[in-house]
C-alpha cells in the first residue's frame, strides 16, 4: 500500500536561550487509507507532531512528504492551498465558527477554495451530514447544538474536501464516554467508507485500540509502533 504522508528526521525545539527538544529525530510513514492512533503522556510531543504534519507548525529540522512530494519547503500560500485540498483537521474543541451555522461551517473549506458552491458540492455535504448523523441540524447555530453534534459537524467539515488525511487531536477529549464511543465508531466507518487516512491523537488507550495502528510517543521519540 502506498504512503500518504511521511516524516523524515523531524526535530522540534522550543525556546531560544534554553531550547527544549520536543521532538527528537522522528521518522514515520502513514499508509493511504489507514486508521492510526498516536498515544503518549502529556508533553510527549503528540500534538506538536500532528501540527507539523498538518503544516500548522514548522519543524526545526527534517522533511515532510505528502504523496512523495516534500511539502515543508512550500511558501505560505502554497501550504495554505495544500492544507485546504489535502488535509482535514478535527480538534479537541470543535473549532467551529460561531458566525456561521452548521451547514455553512461544513462548506467553509470549499468556500475558501472556490466561492461558488456547486450542486455537486452541496450533494456531497448532504451525504456527509447524513453519514455523521446531523442532517436535521443544518440550519442551527453552532452555539445551539450539543457538544457531540458540534464534534460531528467538525468531522463533516474535515471530510467535505475529500482530503487525503484527517488529523484529529483528541477529538473526543471534550465528550462523555457514550459520545466518545459514537465518534470513534463514526471515524472508523468513515475511514472504511471514504478510504481517508486518519491520524488520531488520544490519551485513551481503550479508544486507541479501535484503530489499526498505535504509535506511542515518549519524550519526543517513538517508544512503540504496533499494528493491530
Amino acid at each position: 500500500m502506498s504512503n500518504t504522508i511521511e516524516l523524515l528526521n523531524i526535530t522540534k525545539d522550543y525556546g531560544k536561550s534554553i531550547p527544549v527538544k520536543v521532538l527528537k529525530d522522528i521518522s514515520i510513514k502513514f499508509e493511504k487509507g489507514s486508521l492510526n492512533a498516536i498515544i503518549g503522556q502529556s508533553g510527549s510531543g503528540k500534538s506538536t507532531l500532528l501540527n507539523i504534519m498538518g503544516l500548522l507548525d514548522k519543524p526545526t529540522s527534517g522533511s515532510i512528504y505528502l504523496d512523495g512530494k516534500k511539502i515543508n519547503d512550500f511558501n505560505n500560500k502554497h501550504q495554505s492551498r495544500l492544507r485546504n485540498e489535502n488535509i482535514g483537521f478535527i480538534f479537541q474543541f470543535h473549532y467551529l465558527l460561531p458566525e456561521w451555522n452548521v451547514w455553512e461551517n461544513i462548506l467553509m473549506p470549499l468556500r475558501i477554495r472556490k466561492d461558488n458552491i456547486t450542486d455537486k458540492m452541496k450533494d456531497r455535504a448532504k451525504m456527509i451530514m447524513e453519514a455523521v448523523g446531523i442532517t436535521d441540524i443544518a440550519k442551527e447555530k453552532i452555539q445551539e447544538i450539543s457538544g457531540g453534534q458540534q464534534q460531528r459537524t467538525a468531522i463533516a467539515r474535515a471530510l467535505i474536501t475529500n482530503p487525503k488525511i484527517i488529523l484529529a487531536d483528541e477529538p473526543t477529549g471534550n465528550l462523555d464516554s457514550i459520545n466518545s464511543d459514537a465518534v470513534y465508531n463514526l471515524i472508523k466507518s468513515l475511514n472504511e467508507e471514504f478510504n481517508t487516512t486518519f491520524i488520531i491523537i488520544t490519551h485513551d488507550e481503550r479508544l486507541a485500540k479501535k484503530t489499526n495502528r498505535i504509535i506511542e510517543l515518549e519524550d519526543g521519540i517513538i517508544k512503540s509502533d504496533t499494528l493491530l
Binding site: 495554505s80 492551498r81 492544507r83 473549532y95 458566525e99 468556500r111 475558501i112 466561492d115
Partner: protein, 385 residues
C-alpha cells in the same frame, strides 16, 4: 468574493459594536460636511458683499489718455473669451447739475452704458431697491437714492446737466425716471446712470468710452483671466486691473479661513479614521480564533488581510453615506433655523473630496490590522484557544 462575505459576517456578528463605529464615523463625516459648508457659506457671503455687485476686471485708459482708443476692436477680442460673464463698455465723467442750485452747481458722475447689461453687474433694478422705471434712451436717467435726497428731487423731476457749468452752452434736460439704491451711500450720492448715447450727447463725444467693466464666471480666476486678456490685447494704451489685486487683505483673510477650516476638517477626518483603525485592531484580536481556524482550513495570509481591509472599506463606505445624510440634514437645519445672514451651501466637490478622503484614509488605516491578521501564526492561535 468570499473575503468580503467574511468581512460582512464579522461586522454583523458584533451588531452593537459595529453600529457604534458606524455612528462615530458618520458623526465625523457629518461634522466635516457641516463645517465645510458653513465656511463656504461665509466665504461666498463675504465675496458677494465685497465684490458681488461690482466688476471683477476693469480696463481703463492709461493716465495721460481720456478715452480708450479702438475700443470696438478691443471688445471684439474680449468677447471671444468664454470665461467672461458680462462685458460692459462705459463712458463716465464728472458733470454738473445746473438747474437745482444754479449758484453752486452740484457735481455728479454720469455713467453712460447699456443699462440692461449694466444691471447684470450692479443689480440696480432690484425690485426691493429700485423705485420708478428704467429710463428710455431719449431723455431719461436714473439717480442714486442719496443724490435724490440731497437734491430734493423725485421721479419725473427734470434736471439739467452740463459738462462745464461756466460755459455758454445750454445744458441738457433729462427726466428722472427712477431712483436706485446700491447699498453704498458713496455711489448713491454721486452716480447718475443713463443709456450710452445720452452720456455721449452731454459729454460731446462721438461714441467714446473710458472704461470696460467685466464680470467673469469664476471670480477666483479673475487675475489669471486679466493676465490672459492683457497678453492677448498687448495694448500699451490701456490699464487692466482685477478685484484680487485691489482686495489683497480680503483674499488673505479668506485664505486663512480656508486653511484653518481645512486643518479642522483634516483632523476630524483623521480622528474617525484612527478610530476605525483602532477598532479593527481590536477586531483582529477578537476574531483571532476564527482567523486561526480559517487559516488552518486554507485561508491564505493575503485573504486574511483582505478580510480586514474590506471591513475598513465597509465601515468607511456606509459610515460616509450615513455621515453625508446627517451632514445634509445639519446644513438644512442650520439654514432653516439659524439667524446668520448667509446660507451654508452643500457643494458637490466637498462631498466628493470628503467621501474619497474618508474611504481612502480608512482603507490605508486598515492596512495595519490587516497586516497583523496576515502575520498571525495558526499554531499560536490554536495553542491559546
Amino acid at each position: 468574493m468570499f473575503t468580503l462575505k467574511i468581512a460582512f459576517r464579522f461586522i454583523f456578528s458584533k451588531k452593537s459594536q459595529s453600529l457604534l463605529i458606524l455612528i462615530g464615523f458618520a458623526i465625523g463625516i457629518a461634522v466635516n460636511i457641516f463645517v465645510g459648508s458653513i465656511i463656504r457659506g461665509v466665504e461666498s457671503n463675504l465675496i458677494n458683499t465685497t465684490i458681488g455687485a461690482s466688476p471683477h476686471i476693469t480696463i481703463t485708459p492709461i493716465e495721460n489718455q481720456t478715452y480708450i482708443e479702438g475700443w470696438e476692436d478691443i471688445l471684439n477680442v474680449i468677447n471671444k473669451n468664454k470665461d467672461l460673464k458680462v462685458v460692459l463698455p462705459v463712458l463716465e465723467e464728472r458733470v454738473f447739475i445746473t438747474n437745482i442750485n444754479p449758484e453752486s452747481p452740484d457735481d455728479v458722475i454720469i455713467r453712460g452704458m447699456e443699462l440692461d447689461k449694466g444691471n447684470e453687474i450692479y443689480n440696480y433694478y432690484d425690485s426691493d431697491r429700485f423705485y420708478g422705471n428704467p429710463p428710455n434712451s431719449i431723455n431719461e436717467v436714473i439717480i442714486g437714492k442719496e443724490l435724490a435726497i440731497d437734491l430734493e428731487v423725485n421721479i419725473s423731476d427734470t434736471i439739467t446737466l452740463q459738462k462745464n457749468p461756466n460755459s455758454e452752452e445750454q445744458g441738457t434736460n433729462l427726466i428722472i425716471s427712477g431712483i436706485f439704491d446700491l447699498g453704498v451711500s458713496g455711489l448713491n450720492s454721486i452716480w447718475l446712470l443713463s443709456e450710452f448715447n445720452i452720456a455721449n450727447q452731454i459729454l460731446n463725444t462721438s461714441s467714446q468710452i473710458n472704461g470696460i467693466y467685466i464680470q467673469v464666471n469664476d471670480i477666483f480666476l479673475a487675475d489669471v483671466i486679466a493676465d490672459e486678456i492683457e497678453l492677448t490685447l498687448n495694448n500699451q494704451n490701456i490699464m487692466i486691473t482685477n478685484w484680487k489685486k485691489e482686495n489683497t487683505q480680503l483674499l488673505t483673510a479668506l485664505n486663512a479661513q480656508e486653511q484653518s477650516s481645512s486643518i479642522i476638517q483634516f483632523f476630524v477626518l483623521m480622528s474617525v479614521v484612527i478610530a476605525i483603525a483602532s477598532v479593527l485592531s481590536i477586531t483582529v484580536i477578537q476574531k483571532s480564533k476564527q482567523i486561526g481556524i480559517l487559516k488552518a482550513m486554507g485561508l491564505t495570509n493575503q485573504m486574511s488581510a483582505r478580510v480586514f481591509l474590506f471591513q475598513g472599506l465597509l465601515y468607511s463606505f456606509f459610515g460616509t453615506l450615513l455621515g453625508l445624510a446627517l451632514g445634509s440634514i445639519l446644513v438644512e437645519l442650520f439654514n432653516r433655523y439659524s439667524n446668520v445672514p448667509f446660507q451654508s451651501t452643500l457643494h458637490g466637490d466637498l462631498i466628493i473630496i470628503t467621501t474619497i478622503a474618508a474611504i481612502l484614509f480608512s482603507v490605508i488605516a486598515s492596512l495595519i490590522p490587516a497586516k497583523n491578521s496576515s502575520k498571525m501564526e495558526i499554531i499560536d492561535i490554536i495553542r491559546n484557544y
